[in-house]
Amino acid sequence: MIIGGNRIPFSRAGGKYSRVSNQDMFTAALEGLVARFGLQGERLGEVVGGAVLKHSRDFNLIRESVLGSSLSPQTPAYDLQQACATGLEAVVTIANKIRLGQVESGIAGGADSISDAPIAVSEGLRRVLLEAGHARSTGSRIKAFLKLRPSDVAPLTPSTDEPRTGLSMGEHQAVTTARWGVTREAQDEIALASHLNLAAAWESGFFDDLVTPFQGLTRDQNLRADSSAEKLAKLKPVFGKRLGGPEGEGPEPTMTAGNSTPLTDGASAVLLGSRAWATERNLPVLARVVDAETAAVDYVHGHEGLLMAPTHAVARLLARQGLTLQDFDLYEIHEAFAATVLSALAAWEDADFCRDELGLDAPLGSIDRARLNVHGSSVAAGHPFAATGGRIVATAAKLVAAKAAETGRTARVLISVCAAGGLGVAAILEADPDDATAATGTTTTAQEG
């Protein structure tokens, strides 16, 4: 069961968090969660999370964060890394262990910093340093250093390019965007909704019990509450500019900085526990993790788009649960780019794609767009890779609990997150009205003892 979540506001790269590390940020998110639910000194079953851009010294990032928190030092932890799906996969992992009875409670999350990203030395310098380190005499050590060339001294900064293709995620999505014919207007519409919905959620106090201020930041820095369709329409395209060819005979580029996710710093954490564990501690229960599915696509030679794996994950998840795509009160689809969401929606509506790629008799169909990312998503909030899963799960759990409390019936949310490497994770959360009423403090007419 998902009990609650906590994150720090997400900062734009080079902003308020430029002097803090992944460990600092995750510890802050963790500590806020501990404080919110009174877990000081508690030995939890497990804390699981990770970071996508990670220093080699952070080999035990999560365990070190636990030791820096007020949780019991006897709380075990481990690092998990699945690119942008890290946070969601961590939630699924803990939920599964709870279901198996291996743990009673756990925290899942992640942190990522672009501002404090590790910088590596060149391959040449690295080889020289390793060779010198293994050398047994001063002479052979000097000999190793003599192999150094001036160009070896230049540092390597991490890039968000796909290692196997050399194309950035944006360039990959640009191909998918063109293939699905996603328009600039539709992308800007998603981007605008993301900003306005997230701004409204902040205004309504929705994040009061989901966010702990950090380093002087009290709201997501990337949020533009005053964004407008006109402003978004003015931005120049940044991805897919070469697709048109030298004569411009190909597709026009449509993806701008406005309808893409910015590079961001941040951390998030989600508390999960068995019903008994929660009841014992008088903790509320927001939602349960019903099921989850991870998928991967063959993107290397462009058979499918890099970020299209969630389309497969969702299809298999629905089949296993005997649900249709329309059986949800809410949808949380991670906005790596506005076009990623639109490409997935278009794919689910496409009979050929659903038959040839997903192996379905009929297309999954369309969704009620009023139920999609109702409190904004990554285009507005930002996307600190490993922290996004925790942000989405906490938001989705709280939303679905509110929906159950409001309607007096079980409410259901579909979550999907795409990730580098052609990966994607989908999960279903459900909230029951009784739990939701207790957790959200609202009363409904459907109460029972």
Binding site: R164, G245, P246, G250, V300, H301, G302
Partner: protein, 333 residues
């Protein structure tokens, strides 16, 4: 795919693979000699009577090329890392080309080879790996020249290299070189009039990038270090200028080997690999790669075992190279 030297060729055995450094010095000398003995500027004469030049009907052969030496293993690993091959004991076709290259160069620097080594342009390459070759196996390498023919910009010649393991052919590579401005006196050009773009199996399909290569200024030097091919046109802007290039150019076989590597494990253990080189890649530069599985109009399972690739400068719309990789170890009916 594995045929040996043409009939009438005799085999000359070498004790070991020659060193490329000495061959380049020799190549420079013989190039100068060829230039000096040309009866007319821009033409090559085979004999004093003015008849067409002939290729030496000789195959150079090295019977024992050991691959179980630590320096070969080290060089192979560096090659694999550089071109993006999986690092391991399986020798990719591109490295067999590298191993055979000095033998082919040895042939081109012989006194009876009629074309100048320096300034020749590698225009195409096709290779077949018919049996997996692994590190530690002892190889026999043989090389000969054949197919001297006119081209609209000069003459072309095929340097064929075979690699045999235990007497069985494992690899056969054909490197086509163009000697620019050289003409066969008695034969009219019958080749090269059609633009090569039209022969591409996927001409007409839109270019969809599946990869991007950022090639640094040292790309030529890095490949030279593992391949031994230190042709000045690859080494620095200064040395390339001497041969008429504005900057250093990437080795064609480096770019083709990267494309082969990007096809990945699906190519199988044995495969055919071809490339045609168009505009050279000036260094440094960023180029887009497009790999397409199957070919238009070639539906079905057999088509799926073929990959076409194109490397281009998308901004200027210039094609650098294009080619194909076809898996051999599966037959489809």
């Amino acid at each position: 795919m594995t045929a040996g030297a043409p009939e009438g060729y005799r085999v000359e055995r070498l004790a070991a693979v020659p060193g490329l450094g000495g061959l380049y010095a020799k190549g420079a000398t013989s190039s100068a000699r060829i230039a000096a003995t040309r009866a007319l500027p821009g033409s090559v004469r085979g004999g004093r009577d003015g008849s067409d030049p002939t290729l030496p009907s000789v195959a150079l052969r090295v019977d024992h090329v050991a691959t179980d030496l630590p320096d070969v293993a080290d060089r192979l690993a560096r090659y694999q890392r550089l071109v993006g091959e999986r690092v391991g004991d399986t020798i990719p076709a591109g490295f067999l080309h590298v191993l055979g290259f000095p033998v082919a160069t040895g042939l081109m620097t012989r006194g009876d080879f009629p074309l100048p080594l320096l300034g020749m342009v590698h225009t195409a390459n096709s290779a077949s790996l018919v049996r997996p070759v692994r590190l530690g196996e002892t190889l026999a390498v043989e090389s000969w020249a054949e197919g001297l023919r006119p081209h609209r910009r000069g003459v072309t010649v095929d340097l064929v290299t075979r690699v045999l393991v235990d007497g069985e052919p494992a690899y056969r590579g054909v490197s086509t070189y163009l000697a620019k401005g050289v003409h066969l006196g008695s034969r009219a050009s019958d080749d090269g009039s059609a633009p090569s773009a039209d022969r591409s199996p996927h001409a007409g399909l839109p270019f969809v990038p599946t990869g991007r290569w950022r090639l640094g200024a040292s790309t030529g030097r890095d490949y030279a270090a593992v391949s031994g091919d230190r042709n000045p046109i690859h080494m620095s802007a200064l040395s390339a200028k001497a041969f008429g290039f504005p900057r250093a150019i990437a080795h064609g076989m480096y770019t083709a080997a990267r494309a082969l590597a990007e096809v990945g494990p699906a190519r199988g253990e044995t495969y055919d690999w071809s490339v045609e080189f168009a505009k050279p890649v000036l260094l440094p530069s960023t180029v887009d790669v497009s790999i397409t599985r199957g070919t238009a109009g070639d539906e079905g399972a057999a088509g799926l075992d073929r990959w076409s690739y194109t490397v281009q400068d998308s901004r200027r719309g210039r094609t650098h190279l294009r080619g194909a990789v076809t898996r051999r170890d599966r037959t489809h009916d």
